[in-house]
Symmetry: C2
Subunit: 356 residues, 2 copies
Amino acid sequence: MLGREETGMTGTMRQAGAGTPRSVDVARLAGVSQKTVSRVFNDEPYVSEDVRRRVMQAADELGYRRNNAARMLASGRTRSIGVVTLGTALYGPTSLLMGIERAARSVGYAVRVVTTLEDDPGGLAGAVESLLDQGVDGIVISEPIDEGEAPIRVDVPVLSLGAPSAFASSQTLSTGVGASELARTATEHLLDLGHRTVHHLAGPERWYAARDRAAGWRAALAARDKQEPALLQGDWSAASGYAVGRELAADSSVTAVFAANDDMAIGLIRALLDAGRRIPQDVSVVGFDDIPLAPYTTPPLTTVRQPFDFVAREGLTLLVHAIENPEADLPPASDPPVELVVRASTAAPRPGGSEG
Amino acid sequence: MLGREETGMTGTMRQAGAGTPRSVDVARLAGVSQKTVSRVFNDEPYVSEDVRRRVMQAADELGYRRNNAARMLASGRTRSIGVVTLGTALYGPTSLLMGIERAARSVGYAVRVVTTLEDDPGGLAGAVESLLDQGVDGIVISEPIDEGEAPIRVDVPVLSLGAPSAFASSQTLSTGVGASELARTATEHLLDLGHRTVHHLAGPERWYAARDRAAGWRAALAARDKQEPALLQGDWSAASGYAVGRELAADSSVTAVFAANDDMAIGLIRALLDAGRRIPQDVSVVGFDDIPLAPYTTPPLTTVRQPFDFVAREGLTLLVHAIENPEADLPPASDPPVELVVRASTAAPRPGGSEG
DNA sequence: ATGAAAGCGCTAACAT
DNA sequence: ATGTTAGCGCTTTCAT
């Protein structure tokens, strides 16, 4: 008594429901071989129209659905990519995540997400480990932070969105949002308005995104031989912008500040306003991101728009290319559009009013 | 010549790298059976400390990692849950998503994400289908929309975050953020201040979240025998709040409005301000969500805080319970805390100034 | 406390 | 154009 033929009730409940149909069941009903069912579902060539139709109908009738685990095991591919992103509702990272999901689904890839906390040491490594355990064909690290760790070896292509990657990988890709150039444009806008110099309210030092923006700001200043004020340090939050703003309000020599994101710009403006300084008459401020609220703040915020969707789509295309053509060269990434959105938070400095 | 023993190079490159170690390799190196390796990695009982250590070391040495596809196939469980969420960076849905991921990971579940576009008919059904194809043990639908569709049959537990679900499922769960009660609190705050009545700027009708808030607003009004003004219709965006605000500005009889989210409240305020009305002297407005920017707007926004993290964690706990105890009753959900955050956008109406 | 054997439901290679 | 066969790397019985 081996009971080999009595498969059907195998003890444990399989795939959420005991009577789930298999491809063999479909094959039997359609009067073809199991392999043919597989062919139909994978859109392989050499299947007659007639057979294809019969198979589809049988599948429909039974409510057949391919078992992904079996596919993964047999093919060695998961058709899914993992995304490591910050576990907060920040506009930038979130926009990137949504863009990636959309792009991934459109090319037949599923998305697994793991979040990190900013103050969790080794969080990135843990997140990547977890994705590797789950099984993914590629990984995208969105807006990475410099954790100063030893590189981890990863066997799948890794796309770093917004920075160089700390992960050694067979293929390490990287796309930027062109943050540095965007930052430069923002700074130049202020300079063009006639400001003597521009202060910069930066994001946390460990973020590559923050460094890029600071670099762009420096470049703009240097190109016009402007004096470079001390960097103002924020943490992306409006609260940090507010804190910096309170200090800045006392210094009447500052007439223009470029904040590394819109949230900080808004916090900064609130503090300045509370201190009785007028925006933009007394001080101009430009943000970064163009969040949906930017046009509605007081005053409406001048900012640079980050092409999140563009970057997400382009990055994902690169990653999928690397996954599916392991040896091939990577297609060059095109430059994202730079867009400065001038609203009401910037103006020329008051003549002669800039010196305290 | 069957070559059965020559396994090792099986033609196609398996799992991103040909030489990936299997559990047999670990077993061999540790001098135990393959099953024992499995035992160790699953924390099963009846493994001696000595053996456990040897296995772990061998695994470490080889860089062994369990193959998830094989585990899923053999066990019939994916240990992952799917999340359907709106593909935008809205604060609420995003916060829920992040909260769910964190909670899921803490109990050993991976998260698959699929986004929907609001104007994509049948988007929800498609998203759920896609998750089912990928293989998930449970599904959470975050902030669902009433698509008026026929219910779809799903074989896994479904958790609806913020609304009744349109999916027939073996177990359909549902947790609310207590939106209705929150809305009621917000409205009462305005009434307590002395306003004759309160207008409501609602979210899109198809959203259950919008309906809940409107219901809470109505209840508060009814409880005090206040006249119920016509509903103002928005779409969650600040832009829609702005549009409504422009119309409202002309009507001096409105002194208090409760917006269904902070973004719309901010757009509304911008329009009112642009029209020369003062906030809160001429009109009070309260928002909903308590987004991080709320304290920094002009004026700082009075709003009700949604307990996203609480709801996400609690909902996920429920879902996992349903997954792992298919027959058991569900533990009752505790009520989320209600929190009104009073800032500067609300005040008592000017005496006698409320009639145009 | 440990091991041997038998699949899980597919895809891949090789027929035909 | 379609079928046959042999795994993919685990977990699950069931022995011992």
